[in-house]
Each structure stands twice: as C-alpha cells, then as structure tokens.
C-alpha cells in the first residue's frame, strides 16, 4: 500500500481496541520468567556448546603473537578461534565502522581477538584465560578535547546539498546586533546502552544453512549484514529474535556474538551459544559519543530569537559518523538567522553510534540549557521564551509546514499541571530544611521517521488471526499494538489474535529504532489487513467497499456472517506493506514534549535527588497509552541517568572506557526515580500513516536531561555545563547551609 495522501477516515478511527491502555500480551511471559530470551533457547538446537569471547588488552596497535595451545589442550575445549586465523578483518556489516573479527590490527579496546568453544561455560571461560597474546602498542588518539581544535568539519545534509556550515540568513551580523546574547560551551560524555540483556546468540548449521537465535532490533539489517560478514547468500541465513531484553540502539547492528557463534559452531561442528561477558559490553560494542558543544543565542528584549548558533564536535574511529547533536536546532525554534555545524575528530576509542534518541538526546541537553540561560538573562519565564519562539513551519523552508505541532500546548498544559507558577525565578532561594529545591523545564523534540514495513496476516480455520512480521519487540509493547491493530481492523477481540515476531523468514518490517517502530509496523499490518478484508469479503460474497468488520461478524446491509466462515474453505493469507510517498518532504513530521522536573539538592553534600517529573507529549495518535507511558517513563529515567550520573570514563593514556561494568557505570536505581507523570495530547497525525500515530519511544528522553539540570540550577544558583551534573561539580559553590 502506498501512503502518499493524508489518511481519511478508516477502521482504526473506531478506536475500540487501538488507543486503549491494554496490558501487554507478552506481559505474563515476562513476569513469570518464561519468555525465552536468546541465551535461554535450550530447545531450538540439540547439544549446544558454550562460547567465551576474549577481548583485546590494548586499544591501538597490533597482535604480534598469540599462543592458543594451552587453551586448545584445556579440558572440554572443542574449538579455539583466533583473529589471526584470518589474514584480514572480516567484511563490515551495515552501518558499522569497527570490524568485528579478523586480522592482527587492533582498532579499539576489547576488540574480539579470540573465541573459545567448550562443553561447558566454565570450561570455555577457564580455557580463554590460558590464551597468551603479545602486542605492539601504537600511540592512539584518546582525548576528544585535545583533538577537537583541529577536527575537520563534518558536512550536514546529503549529497550536493551538504555544506560545512548550515546557514540561514546572516548569523554573525544578527548575533552582533542582538540586544540580548548568551554564548556558552558545554560537554556531554560518552554513554553506554547498558541494557539488561547482553548480546547473545545461539548458532546452528545445517549444511550450508545457518540459523541464529539472537537478540537484535533490526532483523532484515542483521540478515543482510551477516551475509556480508560471513560471505554467504542471504537466503541461507535465518535470524530469529522474538524477545529482546533491551537494546537502546546497541542491538541495531550485528555484533560479534552472532559472528563468533556462527564461526564457532562451524569449527566445533555443533550448535554454539554465547552471551557477551558484561565487562566487554562497553568497549567491545558501540556507545553514544561524547560531545563538545557551543550555543550562541541572540534575542530581542521581548525574547524573540534573532540568531542561533549551535555547533558540536564529537569523535569516532576513522570513517565514523558524528553525534548529530545539532539536529533539532534546525527545527525547534523560529529565528531568521542561524548557523549550525559539526566537526568530527578521529579518535581510537570504541565505535560511536546510535543510542536512544541519537543527536537529540545530547543536543537538547545543551540547547535547552542554553535557552534556560537566555531566559534568565532576559528576565523572562523559560516557558514563555519557548512559546514566543514557536514555529509552525520549517524555519529554513517557510512553505513547508509541520504536519502537526502542539509544542505550545505541551508547555502550557505542563506548566499548569506541574504548578510551575510556584517556581521562584531567582535561583538558590527555595529551601526545605537542608534541601535546596528547584524546578526546571525544557522542550522536547524528536523527528518522526517513515520507513516501509510489511506484515502477513492469516485467518485460520477456527477464526483466529495470526500475524507474522520480522518486526521486533524490544520491551516496547510491539506485540500488543500489532494485536490491537489486527483486532481493530478485523473486528475481533484481542485474544483472538496471535502475533509472531522477529523471524527473518517473515515479511520485512521497519524494525525497532529511531522511534519509528510503532507507527510503521502497525501501518504495514494495516495494509495487510486491508487486503485480508478484501479477501474475506470476496469469499463471503460481499461487495468489499461497504463491508463492516465488528464483533466477530462481517456485515453489510442486513446480512451478517461470522468472520470464521470465510476460512471454512481454507486458511486465508494476506501479505502487504506500507510504503511512503513524499508527505514527509511536504510536511515536517516531528514529535514534541514539555518536560517539567523538581529536584532537591542537599546543601551539605551536593547530592541531587529528583522529586517529581512530568512529561506532556504530542506524538500523534497514542496506540496504547499504557505501553506508551511505559516508554516515556523509561526514557525519562534514562534522561535522569544522563543528567545525574552516566558517563563512560575515558582513560586517556590507555584508551578505554574504565567503568565497564554495571557496578561502576551507574544508571538510575528505583530510589533515584520518584513520582513520574505523563500526559498525552490527542492529535492524530493524518500525514504520518493510516494509523495517524508517530513515534514516542525516544521523545521521553529528549529534553529531560536539560530540565533536570535547569532544575538543579534553579535550586542552587550554580550552573554546571559539563554533564553529568555530579556533586563534585557544584559542591564548592553551593550556598551555605546555614
């Protein structure tokens, strides 16, 4: 189905099942521990052997010698793979720059250099420790701050439109002439996805056919990548990933667990399972790159922005991409003059790549702090400053409107519900015993991306429906919203729909990433359902145009037939997908939020404790408010981590992230997260898809870090521009406790 004109009224608009706060249909499996995650699929292949990964001990250089003889001779060992078995690195998968295995060169710390397969996990681990490796170290580039001044521009935009500096109007003159100005520098650190389930795969060969039971967000990408890396025909690879214990972008790509399980299974002549050891997770895989950012804002005394500069420098391995921290600044606020650029330094730290809300997460942490600083300088309420600068069109292309944009309503609703008027605009004034109390807010913004997505739906003989797509549920509620979509379209109760996901033999979906999963995958299923409705109507002798599907019946005029009747003569199967026209070129499609936070800072110790958080979200039709709320509060929690504690600490001598386990890379615990509230505005977006939904899974993270930091400033009067805002950064400037 091609979606190239705005959606009219359709069966989803009935909202009998879609739009309801439905419990997750996979919830009981999760809460009883019976959802089979990749490493636990003991039944899929017999006689599984265990793999253990060895990571490089240096960050940059070469392996000069590796002795695996002791490991090979160790009890239970079935195979030992060495990176030196390959003259050069295995080909790259899609969208990655760090080679996963092969060759003597070391490009980053904990790069996989060997893999031991044994009868038991303990034997594999013990043997792995017997491998002796000698290295020749090279001097690496591990210090972003040192590399930043000479880093080259990274053009923004695509193809011939790409420019070093994205300018609109004349920034320099407008900024110079602006009556009120701020100019500040900020940093955000590298962050680790730190998902609960590590990378994990079971691999089995049958002749030249390979099956991988794994944990991956993007099944079609990973099948394609595996074909490249392993030099295989795609049709000989099957990838299955029905349950994923968190990914946050870390599992968008094929990781070394899948590659080594496949190679190890071949070498051992048996199925092999592996879960990446936790201490390897941070340095072996990808992370959110650190940034150094500058924002300059010029405004008139009434708060109208006349000039915006936003620049960001990040680092990556050669041929890597930058963290696009300036992305939102092109679209969030009206300002006739703007200047936006990025620079990219070459560093020899592990690969930087997508982590939940790439670009906007660190970009808004900075831009929205700068807006807070400007509001203070203007003597203006921070909410009003954002409202005054709202735009309903793409500021660079004024004839290109937003499809739906209700940021102002998000902010006004949030301010009212949160009790924003009680905030003292003068920082450092509000006390509750020893606590310094403050409120902060920020705007949230994240684009809505349209990508094609397909699904198959079957009407079984007993009237049940089966949905099959390679779409993934990374804990987001995808099973449930797909079931809701099919139930709504076919007029059956939710319990009559079975959803099977994550198998590369199924039609290719959008996958889970970039908050595009929900809207696109349900729209793809919508298309398949439209086809199935036609088939049903035809089989039952209805004129397809005026049939209704409701209460398990197919109806037109006075005639009603049970849906199951249509499958009496045989199962009906329909497969289709959604493809998009140019609506996202004609209209800017984005999602918006107002974040409000109250914090208390211990005036003695400088510890920050969040007291309450509110997000008001404008993200199209909300398909399942319960699942969407879970997404948003999870993202707000991640934002709390980013604002208060998360930081991959770099050892600039040895070139690695030092705090590479969950004891030392701190993410929020329950005690850090008090009251969270989410309000969804109800603005279905008919330009986004027949579902009229948009993404919401990342929106909750966008801006919340700045809202927290702004609240800390309001509490203390100390502005910390280097995230995370840990106590050591403001301790000596806090107001006295007496």
């Amino acid at each position: 189905m091609k979606f190239d004109t705005p959606a009219g009224t359709n069966p989803i608009d009935q909202m009998k099942i879609v739009g309801r706060p439905t419990d997750r249909i996979d919830g009981p499996l999760k809460t009883t521990g019976t959802a089979p995650y990749a490493y636990e699929r003991h039944d899929v292949a017999p006689d599984q052997a265990y793999g253990y990964i060895v990571g490089s001990a240096i960050a940059k250089g070469r392996i000069t010698r590796m002795d695996t003889s002791l490991a090979r001779a160790a009890p239970g060992v079935l195979a030992v793979l060495s990176t030196l078995d390959h003259a050069k690195p295995l080909p790259l998968g899609m969208m990655n720059i760090a080679h996963l295995f092969g060759g003597a060169d070391i490009a980053h710390y904990h790069q996989a250099i060997a893999f031991v397969v044994a009868e038991s996990f303990e034997q594999a681990r013990a043997a792995a420790a017997l491998i002796r490796t000698d290295y020749a170290r090279d001097k690496g580039r591990f210090d972003l701050e040192a590399a930043a001044p000479t880093a080259p521009f990274e053009p923004t935009g695509d193809g011939p439109d790409a420019k070093d500096i994205d300018s609109v109007g004349d920034f320099a003159s407008a900024f110079g002439a602006a009556p009120v100005r701020i100019e500040q520098h900020y940093t955000t650190p590298g962050e680790s996805h730190a998902m609960m389930e590590p990378f994990a795969t079971i691999a089995a060969w049958e002749g030249d056919k390979l099956t991988l039971w794994t944990s991956n967000q993007m099944i079609a990408w990973s099948k394609g990548s595996l074909a490249k890396i392993l030099a295989m025909k795609p049709e000989n690879i099957r990838v299955d990933s029905p349950y994923i214990g968190g990914g946050f972008g870390g599992k968008l790509f094929v990781r070394v667990d899948a590659v080594l399980a496949a190679l190890g299974a071949k070498a051992a002549g048996r199925p092999v399972k592996v879960a990446m050891q936790r201490p390897l997770m941070a340095n072996n895989s990808t992370h959110r790159p650190a940034t150094i950012q500058t924002v300059k804002l010029g405004a008139t005394p009434d708060g109208r922005l006349t000039a915006i500069h936003h620049s960001s420098t990040s680092g990556n391995l050669p041929d890597g991409k930058p963290e696009v921290a300036v992305q939102q600044t092109k679209l969030l606020y009206a300002a006739p003059n703007r200047e936006i650029w990025m620079k990219l330094a070459v560093t020899d730290l592990p690969e930087g790549n997508a982590m939940r809300a790439p670009g906007e997460a660190p970009g808004l942490m900075v831009l929205e702090m700068a807006m807070d600083e400007l509001a203070e300088k203007l003597g203006m309420d921070p909410v009003e400053l954002r409202i005054v600068n709202d735009t309903q069109v793409d500021p660079a292309k004024p004839n290109r409107p937003f499809s739906e944009r209700h940021l102002v309503e998000c902010l006004r609703t949030g301010a009212e519900k949160f009790g924003w008027s009680r905030r003292n605009p003068k920082p450092g004034q509000t006390r509750d015993g020893k606590w310094l109390v403050g409120m902060g807010m920020a705007a949230g913004f994240r684009n809505n991306q349209l990508t094609k997505s397909a699904a198959r739906i079957r009407l079984e003989r007993d009237g049940h429906l089966t949905v099959e797509t390679d779409m993934t549920d990374i804990g987001t509620g995808t099973y449930t919203i797909l079931a809701q979509t099919a139930a709504e379209m076919m007029g059956v109760p939710l319990a009559q729909v079975r959803v099977i996901l994550g198998d590369s033999d199924f039609p290719a979906s959008a996958g889970s990433g970039g908050q595009w999963g929900a809207n696109n995958s349900t729209a793809g299923l919508y298309a398949a359902c439209v086809k199935l409705r036609e088939q049903v109507a035809q089989r039952l002798g209805f004129n397809a145009a005026d049939v209704q599907f409701a209460d398990g019946q197919v109806r037109a005029g006075n005639r009603a037939v049970p849906l199951a009747e249509a499958a009496r003569g045989g199962v009906l199967t329909a497969e289709d997908g959604i493809e998009y026209g140019t609506l996202d070129e004609q209209y800017q499609q984005s999602t918006f939020a107002g974040h409000f936070v109250e914090v208390a800072v211990d005036s003695y110790t400088g510890e920050t404790r969040i007291r309450r958080m509110l997000a008001v979200c404008d993200a199209g039709r909300i398909l399942n408010p319960k699942a969407a709320r879970s997404q948003v509060i999870g993202a707000m929690t991640m934002g709390a981590g980013a604002a208060l504690m998360e930081e991959l600490a770099v050892d600039k001598r040895f070139g690695f992230f030092v705090n590479h386990d969950l004891a030392s890379y701190e993410v929020p615990v329950h005690a850090d997260i008090p009251h969270q509230e989410v309000i969804f505005l109800d603005y279905p977006d008919d330009k986004s898809s027949p579902m009229k939904a948009k993404g919401v899974g990342e929106l909750g993270l966008c801006g919340v870090g700045a809202a927290i930091a702004n609240a800390i400033y309001n509490a203390t009067g100390v502005r910390v521009r280097d995230y995370p805002v840990t106590l050591d950064k403001h301790l000596d400037k806090l107001p006295s406790w007496t």
Partner: protein, 316 residues
C-alpha cells in the same frame, strides 16, 4: 575461573589448619565477593575451605557488657538485631546503606570486613595493578581515580577500602577475634586490622595465611546519637564517595570515622577533640596529610561537608 578443590570444615581449628596447610587456599563464606573475583581471575585460589558449618552465626553478650558477633552472622541478621539497633545504631545504619537486600542476606560479618577494593584497574586484568599483581605498577595513578583514596595512599596504590560496616565498627572501637592455624587466638583492634597500602598493597589487612576470623566484638554501648551518612552519585546500590560514621553526645563531643577516603576506615582520634569547634577544625586534622588526585580532590571538601551534616543532625 581456574579449577579449584573444595571442602567444608566443621570446626574453626580445622578450617584454619586446612587453609594454612595449602598454598593458595582460601576461606569461603557468603561468596558474594570472592566468587565474583574468581570468575574474573582476579583471585585464583586453588582450594576453598567453606566455613558455613562453623556455627559462628550467633550474636552474644560479652562479659564486659558488649556484644560478640559471630563471623558468619549475615549482614541482614546483624543489622536487624534488636540489641544492635538499640545500642549500636551506627552499625545498623552503615550495613543497610550497603549493597542490596539480596547481597546482605548472603554477606557475612567476616567476609564483609575482607571485601576487596573496587578500584576499576584492580577489576580489569589487562591493566597494571600492584594490588592484584605486585610489581606491575598502579593503573589508577594518573588514570581515572575519582572513587579512590585521598589520604593514607602510597606511590604503589591509591585504592580505597570500599565497605560501610567496618567504618561503623571503627568508630565503635570493635575488635576482630581470630584463631590461627596453631590454635592461638588474638583480638585485633579494628584500628589495626586493615593496613595502609605502603609498599605492599597486595596485603589488605594484618591476617596471616590460614588465620580465621571467628567474631567481631563490640565494647559496651557508648550512648549518644548514632549516625551513618553515605554520599554517592545515585540514591542507592553504590559504593560511597565519602561516608561518615559518628557517635555524638549531647555536648557535641564524640567520635567520627570516614569511609571511601582511604585504604582503611579512616579515623584520627586526636582530631575528635576539635568536635566542639565544628567540622572544619576536625576535617582539617583528619585530612592534614591528604594526597588527593585531580579527580578526587573534591572528596576532602565533601568529607568536611558531610561531617557538618552529621553534626547538624546530631544537634537535632
């Protein structure tokens, strides 16, 4: 993890002899620290002597009016004991500020005292570390040292003792009772139990090979207000950046020990005379010889401010 052999001892003397008699043998209590370190091959014992059957899991009154805490009393049981809660509140507060409920159910009194540092370079076997592998150098000096020691450190090691319980025991003047392989017993004052790193950071404490902890004794109750304040980046389930254990009387006089700042619970008795002059006077003396790194210099101010908070709480 290296292969090892395992036995369960039934008496303290037998346990001590079993460990003394074999090179590379170690005691195993709750296993919450030792087993983690073995999986990473930071510790590589060849033989484990499990002490769980030694019946050292009681808390009894001593003749001097204090308490004797068996080496195997769990953190959960110790923190919940009515006598401890009533008379040694600082100890209960310190214990419940540590780890998680599940860990405290397994963790024992002796094992907790002997938990090893959380220095990240100690935990990464690719990195130099004099404590893990004597003579390889110290990765943390000149590296990422935000968590590490500001006082009492050496050019060989700047690790901290990471635990909470021992800081409270230090302020209470507890003593560690042991039995040696030859049957001799001794009581080691908590002040002398943990070592400073000096030239031998591989040695955390003064125990000899095969010397078994049987109990920790607390002197008779001190009275006063008992406070343990632990400062960290997240609200729970993290090791202390700085902690303060204090027992403070009505007159403002009292005792104070610091956690998270040194290779042992850090208490400078002489500085306690300055309690009436306020936190600055005390901290000035306690940290007079501090040698912080650029990463952890803030801990000195933080320790003083945390002490100020504790003193304010004691005033009520």
């Amino acid at each position: 993890m290296k292969s090892f052999t395992y036995e369960r001892a039934s008496t303290p003397a037998q346990a001590a002899a079993a460990v003394a008699g074999r090179q590379g043998a170690k005691f195993l209590a709750g296993g919450t620290n030792l087993l983690d370190l073995m999986k990473l091959e930071i510790e590589t014992p060849t033989h484990l002597v499990d002490v769980q059957d030694l019946k050292l899991d009681r808390i009894e009154k001593t003749e001097k009016g204090g308490l004797r805490i068996g080496a195997l009393v769990t953190n959960t049981a110790l923190a919940a004991d009515d006598r401890v809660r009533r008379d040694y509140g600082v100890l209960t507060r310190a214990i419940v500020a540590g780890a998680s409920g599940q860990l405290r159910n397994k963790a024992t009194t002796a094992g907790n005292l002997l938990q090893r540092t959380r220095c990240p370079y100690f935990y990464d076997t690719n990195q130099p570390c004099n404590k893990r592998k004597p003579g390889t150098g110290c990765g943390a000096i000149g590296g990422y040292s935000r968590q590490l020691a500001v006082v009492g450190s050496s050019d060989q090691c700047i690790a901290t003792y990471p635990g909470d319980m021992a800081v409270a025991m230090r302020v209470l003047d507890a003593a560690v009772e042991t039995v040696k392989p030859d049957g001799q017993t001794r009581a080691i004052p908590m002040a002398d139990f943990h070592r400073l790193p000096g030239d031998h950071p591989e040695r955390d404490n003064v125990l000899e090979q095969g010397e078994l902890i049987t109990a920790v004794t607390l002197p008779k109750p001190l009275g006063g207000t008992h406070i343990y304040q632990k400062v960290r980046d997240r609200a729970s389930y993290a090791f202390a950046l700085v902690s303060v254990a204090a027992v403070i009387g009505k007159d403002g006089a009292g005792r104070v020990a610091f956690g998270g700042v040194a290779h042992k619970p850090w208490r400078v008795e002489a500085a306690e005379a300055a309690m009436s002059q306020g936190p600055r006077a005390v901290a000035g003396q306690v940290f007079a010889d501090a040698r912080p790194t650029p990463d952890n210099r803030f801990k000195i101010a933080l320790a003083e401010r945390t002490l100020a908070s504790v003193m304010a709480q004691a005033k009520g």
